[in-house]
Point group: C2
Chain length 382, copies 2
C-alpha cells in the first residue's frame, strides 16, 4: 500500500463569520494550497466533509464548493460521519491515494452553523442522533453527554471542578491560537457559575456553535518526499456504536473510541506513551476526560485526576487540545477533524509558536461523531 502524507494545511478563523459556506471552504483551501506551494490545477481530486447541508440551506453542497474552488472537472465526493466528518474526509482522502486512484488530494472540512438561529442549529444537530426514539422525545447532545458525565461522576468520583478544569485549560490554550472562536481566559469559578445546560454540564463545559473550515493537501509517498516537511498519516482507526444511547452497554466510556484507538495504535506500531500530543473531541468537557481514558493516556476512571494534575497541559505528560479544542477553538462540525489534523501538523513542524509542544514527533487525533456512533482515531508522524 502507498503511504500518504499531509503536505499542505489551511484554516479559517472559527467563529461567527460573515462568509458563506463556499467562501469558508475557499479560504481554507487557498491557504492549504499556498502552504503546499501548489495551485488547484495540480490536484487530482477533492473530498469535502460537511455534516448538514441543511445548515447552509443546500442539499448537495460539495458540488457548489468544487465549483467555487475551481477544481472542475476533477473528481469529488462528500463524506459525512456526524461530528467526526472531518476525520472521515481525511480517511477518504487517504483511501483515494492509497488505492492508487489519485496522487494529490485536497480535503476540505467545513460547516456554516451561524446562518440559522441557535434554536434552529440545535434542532438540526439533535437530528444527528437517533431520530425515532430519542430526538423525537426531545433528547439533545448536551443531554447525552450529561448522562455520560453523571455516570462517570457516580462511578469514579469525577468532580464538577475536574470537568471545569478541562474548559479552563482549553480556553487558556486558545488564547495562543489566532484561529480560535473564543479568546477569553476563564477560571474554575467562571465555569461552575455559568448557566446550567444539562446537569452537571454548564455553558462553559460546552463548545460554541461556530462557522469555519479547515483543509489539508494529501500526497502519495512518491510525491510527498518532494515537499519540505511531509507529515505522515501513519495510523488509522475507525469504529461505530449504536446511534441510540438507550442500547449502549456502558455510559462511562465511548466504546468505539477504545476500539478505534487500538486499531490506530496497532497500524502505527505505537503505544499511548509514544504520543507527544493529542487533539480530542471535547464538544463537552466530559468528552475530553473520557478520551484520556479511552485512548489509554491514563487508567479507566482516572481522567479527572489527569487534568487536575496538569498532565494534559502544554508541558505536561501528554498535552491535549493545544489549539483550544472544540471547547474554545470552536466546532464547525465538518471542519473539526481536519482542524485537528492542521493543529497536529503545525505542532509536528514546530510552527505552533507560544503553544508549541517541544520536540513533538507523533500526534494523535480523536474525533467523535454524534454521541459516539462514529469514532475516528488518526496518528500522524514526522
Amino acid at each position: 500500500m502507498r503511504r500518504v502524507a499531509i503536505v499542505g494545511i489551511g484554516h479559517t478563523k472559527f467563529g461567527v463569520r460573515n462568509a458563506s459556506l463556499r467562501e469558508l471552504a475557499f479560504e481554507a483551501a487557498r491557504e492549504a494550497l499556498e502552504d503546499a506551494k501548489l495551485t488547484i490545477d495540480d490536484l487530482d481530486s477533492l473530498i469535502v466533509g460537511i455534516v448538514s447541508a441543511e445548515f447552509a440551506k443546500m442539499v448537495s453542497p460539495g458540488a457548489q464548493i468544487a465549483e467555487y474552488l475551481g477544481i472542475n472537472p476533477k473528481g469529488s465526493m462528500r463524506v459525512e460521519a456526524a461530528c467526526a466528518t472531518g476525520s472521515a474526509a481525511i480517511r477518504a482522502g487517504y483511501m483515494t491515494i492509497a488505492s492508487g486512484l489519485s496522487d494529490l488530494v485536497l480535503v476540505v472540512g467545513c460547516e456554516k452553523m451561524r446562518e440559522l438561529s441557535t434554536q434552529e442549529g440545535l434542532e438540526i444537530m439533535s437530528k444527528a442522533a437517533d431520530t425515532k426514539w430519542e430526538y423525537s422525545f426531545c433528547c439533545t447532545f448536551a443531554g447525552y453527554y450529561a448522562m455520560l458525565a453523571n455516570a462517570h461522576m457516580k462511578r469514579y468520583g469525577t468532580t464538577e471542578e475536574q470537568l471545569a478544569m478541562v474548559g479552563v485549560k482549553n480556553h487558556s490554550n486558545a488564547l495562543n491560537n489566532p484561529y480560535a472562536h473564543l479568546h477569553k481566559k476563564i477560571n474554575i469559578d467562571d465555569v461552575l457559575n455559568s448557566k446550567m445546560v444539562a446537569y452537571p454540564l454548564k455553558l462553559y463545559d460546552s463548545c460554541p456553535l461556530s462557522d469555519g473550515a479547515a483543509a489539508v493537501v494529501l500526497a502519495s509517498d512518491e510525491l510527498a518526499n518532494k515537499f519540505e516537511e511531509p507529515i505522515w498519516i501513519s495510523g488509522l482507526g475507525v469504529a461505530t456504536d449504536t446511534a441510540s444511547m438507550m442500547t449502549r452497554e456502558s455510559y462511562t466510556e465511548i466504546r468505539g473510541a477504545t476500539l478505534a484507538a487500538r486499531e490506530a495504535y496497532k497500524y502505527a506500531k505505537v503505544d499511548p506513551s509514544d504520543i507527544d500530543l493529542a487533539e480530542v473531541h471535547d464538544a463537552f468537557t466530559i468528552g475530553e476526560i473520557l478520551a484520556y481514558e479511552d485512548l489509554g493516556f491514563c487508567k479507566k476512571g482516572k481522567g479527572g485526576e489527569l487534568v487536575e494534575e496538569g498532565e494534559t497541559e502544554i508541558g505536561g505528560k501528554i498535552p491535549v487540545n493545544t489549539d483550544g479544542g472544540l471547547k474554545a477553538k470552536g466546532h464547525p462540525l465538518g471542519a473539526t477533524g481536519v482542524s485537528q489534523a492542521v493543529e497536529i501538523v503545525t505542532q509536528l513542524r514546530g510552527e505552533a509558536g507560544k503553544r508549541q509542544v517541544e520536540g513533538a514527533e507523533i500526534g494523535l487525533s480523536h474525533n467523535v461523531g454524534g454521541n459516539g456512533q462514529y469514532i475516528f482515531v488518526t496518528i500522524y508522524k514526522r
Copy 2:
C-alpha cells in the same frame, strides 16, 4: 493495487414503500448478504450512500442504518454526490478495499423520498443544484434537462418522438424487472400526450419519485475468488462540472461524462464497442440520448437515431437500461448507482431471465449527479 469484486447483490422493490429508510436499507443489505452467503459479522466495514437526510427527517442517517443492520462496532461512513451518490458509495467501497483498510465491505445506497409530499420532495431536490443563483430563481431539474433537450433538438434535429422512444423502451424493459416501480406498458403517443412538465419533456419523459435501496458486498481479490461468480470492478472514472448551469460551455453534452468515460475505459483497457450492456442515467429521457453520445456508443448528435433504430433494445448493438432505467424502475436517489451495479451483476451472471442480454461479459454504469456536476462511470467484468 488489490482488485475488488462484487460477491453479493441485494435490491428492494422500488416504489411507494410503506417502510422507513432503515428498513429499506436492511431489506437490500439482507438480500446482498444472503446472496453472498455471509452474515453481517463477516464484514469489515460499511459505506452508506444517501443524498438527502432531509427526506427522512434525519441529519446523519448512516449511523441509524448501521445500528439497524447490526454492524456496530465496525467502521462506517456516508458518502454523497447528489444523484450519483450510489456510484460514489461503490467507489468509496472500492477504495476501502484497494487501500488495504478492509477486505469485505457492504455498500448500501438508499433513499426514502415518498414520506414527504411531491412538492416537498421536488423542493429538496432543487436544492441539490446551485442554490445561490439558480434554485433561488426557481430552477428545477426538469427545467435544466429541458434546456439540454432543447439545445440538442435545435443543434442535431433530435425529435420529441425519439425522446419518447427512450421512455417506451425502458417501460418495456421494466415489465420484466420485478423490482421496478412502474409496471406499465406505454407507447409513443402515451408519452407525447402526457402532461407537459418543461418543454419538450413530458411526464413520461421523467422518472418517478421512489423509495428504495440496493446493496452490494465487495471483496478483495484474495477473498473474491472463493465466491461462486465474482464480478470485477475493472474500470472507474469520475468527473465533475460546475453546479451552476449558467457557467457551462455546452448544453448538448454532459462534459464530465465524456471525461469520466474516457478514464474508465482506459482503466479497464476496453473501448465502447467492448461494452455488452449499459445502465445509464435517464432521470429524463434526454439524459439517455446524451449518455449514448458521451459514452461513445454513437457519434455526437446521433443519439436520437440510435434509439430509433432499436440498437439500445435488448438484442440490439448495445442494450441500455435493461432493468427499466431510472425512468421506469425508479430513482431513489442514493440507491440508483448501486441498483445499476446490481443489474449489471445480474446480467453478467446470466440471471436476468426474460431481460437477459445473451453472453454479456462486460457492463458499464453511468450515473450523473445533479445536472452533471458529478459523473461516475464504472465498468464491470465477469
